[in-house]
Symmetry: C2
Subunit: 440 residues, 2 copies
């Protein structure tokens, strides 16, 4: 993408009305614009990041055997009356009447709908287990929306739902999603620690939040340093390996991590002092086992292998896809701007010409741009006729992982400068070496 | 995907309550389920098709230089009051009040919002032309939703908006989108003919509908047989080539095609009799130039190269993404079920074992399944322990382009049967030859 033809509105000043750094940076770098309270339009830069995050979530769900579908945003009130939640849900539910005065709502979540769909199609134990998911916009009518996309009203969520014949099966589905989540966040280049969450009326140990560590986080967190080094992609841990998944769960459960809400001073005391880590964090995912709560209320039963009717046991698994954009920025930025992990960066490489009006400089940049594109690299080429310093500042602000700085003096010597946004390291290289480095 | 583990609910009987064939087939083959009047959940099979169509639309928009973003589903009434459309729009607009009694609406289209966003960011002629698009769910509160996703209430649409400094530029943007549309539909394997549409109060020749030919279509159509053979991917026609795009437009404008609404008997009389084609069709896209209608009412002005303020000229360009799923089925099916064009098929290949309980048959099918997957082919493996005839019927119903039929007798001789869904041709081949054919 050429900057001169792109729709990338960058603000000169940091907006004064945003309270947290991710919101400031998302406005300043032109990721989003607010169109109504707590409702945002995603401009091309923000949309690219949102789409990369969504695609990682999708691929890791597919890899874990979950099947994608898509439920609508609007739901009938009738459906929610069946579970009893229509009246129980507070004013955060956006209630709507259509032209025929039928009561509807903008879905804040989909337990009722997925359970009803599954109920109407699945009749036999042979058709279980199944985990279904979708990635769809939701609405929660927050009384005071704030912090940009971190607590907006219209937000993008991945929600998955598992259906099993018994609790043992449901535990395996839960472990499977736990592993999928650990891999999802690791792949995004962020540290998200699973923390035992309040499991509500059902009790038990099957409720975890995934918390991204960021100094500005909403919760205080306490965790074992072991989480700093876990690699969740160990090749000997496979989906479908029941003992392995149980082992993963036991490992997570026995390695301390908690938010202030579930913090247990006694267990914390057992963690060696040199392994104690504290900080703040932002919730980006929540997995939850709720047994037969919705299958019971929505009337989902299947015939078991012995001919008796069985009520399936369910869990739900949420990832805040749009929230992640903000959370990643909270976790990864500096005074100059955003620092995107490569996996979610809108473009991997930004090319900056220090003098767009210098013919050899522009020619070298053009040729590098063409070569990187041919090599399949996502590249933004800042070909604008602006001062070099302004363009470098913009590149730092929008946070692409690599900058290639092309200037008249360097080009006279056949070299460009390669800058790593995260470390700030700059290196002079000849053009071929820069290409080799960026396409390695 | 293994059928035995998939969520692919196929109905034995054709549903009696659906009036048109695409709706019947979408229910029977398990593409969608209605969750409220005119609102559908997309089950995995339908979602895969929807996503393939969406991706083709996206890639062809990108190729034409349009930039993707994403606007929210809910909009403020205030925005629509600025253009005057809040009061003008009828009961098809779903009007909503939030918890603070603020008036909102579920967007049926996005002219106001994109114009406001563009207005707030773009100040200079240097930042034009631009074409922006998004693919988002819309809502139109149809009084009698029917025909499944063809006239649903919540529907997925791609809408693009172009901004130019003058009408000459806007014409080029219009031609560019016209070519993108021709390429988009051609790539989906359907014939969509551009037909001059009523251009409303602005007049002029810049409004076209794209009509998929299908005997069950809503409109009567009249067109020149030349459209049966046009190839819109001719390599010498490039985006940015002004004369070439003008030539394309002239060619379309001089080759007769019209719906009953705009049919011109005099011009039709000039078409040679042996080139006259009539039939019925379904609208799947509409492109439209509206000049300064929204830039004027929303207050969008930029400074021109001479320092004077200029009101940009705009066009909008819609594709009915979810509607296309139904339209393609209307255009491509037989008594046995759907016949997917390969580009939008949920899977390219279906493997059917005629006897899942016969060990050599199952082993051969498993190995073919693994090999096709390794080769990157989308494949559905019907490994269910059902009668062969039932499984073949299901494959015909869901309409995958290729079926590989694996039976005990064939496997004893080292052969499988390859069936082309569209032509019905069946051929016995050894396994390697079948692989070679499917991965060619």
């Amino acid at each position: 993408m050429r900057f001169s033809r792109a729709f990338l509105p960058v603000l000169k000043e940091s907006p004064a009305d945003a309270q947290i750094v991710s919101h400031k940076l998302m406005l300043q770098a032109g990721l989003v614009r607010q169109t109504a309270a707590g409702i945002y339009a995603w401009l091309p830069l923000g949309f690219r990041v949102l789409q990369k995050i969504e695609q990682i979530v999708r691929e890791e769900q597919d890899r874990a055997g979950a099947q994608e579908m898509l439920m609508p945003t609007l739901q009938s009130a009738e459906l929610w009356r069946t579970s009893g939640r229509y009246d129980a849900y507070g004013p955060e539910m956006l209630r709507i009447k259509d032209r025929h005065d039928r009561e509807m709502l903008y879905g804040p979540t989909n337990e009722e709908m997925i359970t009803a769909i599954f109920r109407d199609e699945v009749k036999s134990y042979r058709e279980l287990p199944r985990t279904l998911y979708h990635i769809q916009w939701k609405f929660r009518d927050e009384v005071r929306p704030r912090f940009g996309v971190m607590r907006g009203r219209e937000f993008l969520m991945k929600d998955a739902y598992s259906f099993d014949l018994d609790e043992a099966g449901a535990r395996q589905s839960y472990y499977t999603q736990m592993l999928a989540y650990l891999r999802t966040f690791q792949r995004m280049g962020i540290k998200a620690v699973p923390m035992k969450a309040d499991s509500g009326p059902i009790g038990g140990d099957l409720s975890h939040e995934f918390i991204v560590l960021a100094p500005t986080g909403e919760s205080e967190v306490f965790y074992d340093a072991a989480y700093d080094t876990f690699d969740w992609n160990q090749p000997d841990l496979r989906y479908g390996d029941e003992a392995g998944l149980q082992g993963l769960f036991d490992q997570v459960n026995s390695t301390y991590a908690a938010t202030d809400e579930t913090h247990d001073e006694a267990r914390w005391g057992d963690v060696a002092d040199d392994r104690k880590r504290t900080g703040r964090g932002i919730e980006v995912g929540h997995i939850f086992y709720f047994g037969d709560k919705y299958s019971e209320s929505m009337g989902l039963k299947v015939s078991g292998s012995d001919g008796q009717m069985v009520t399936p046991m369910m869990g739900s698994y949420g990832v805040g896809v749009s929230r992640l954009v903000g959370a990643i920025i909270e976790a990864s930025h500096d005074e100059a701007g955003i620092i995107w992990p490569e996996a979610v960066a809108p473009w991997k490489v930004g090319i900056v010409t220090m003098r767009a009006d210098d013919e050899p400089t522009a020619a070298a940049a053009e040729s590098l741009y063409a070569d990187l594109q041919s090599a399949g690299i996502d590249v933004l080429y800042d070909d604008r006729n602006e001062r070099g310093g302004v363009k470098l500042g913009t590149m730092d602000l929008i946070g692409l992982p690599w900058q290639v700085i092309v200037g008249p003096r360097g080009i006279a010597n056949g070299v460009v400068e390669l800058k790593n946004r995260a470390t700030g390291e700059r290196e002079e290289l000849n053009v071929d070496a820069a290409m080799a480095r960026l396409t390695a």
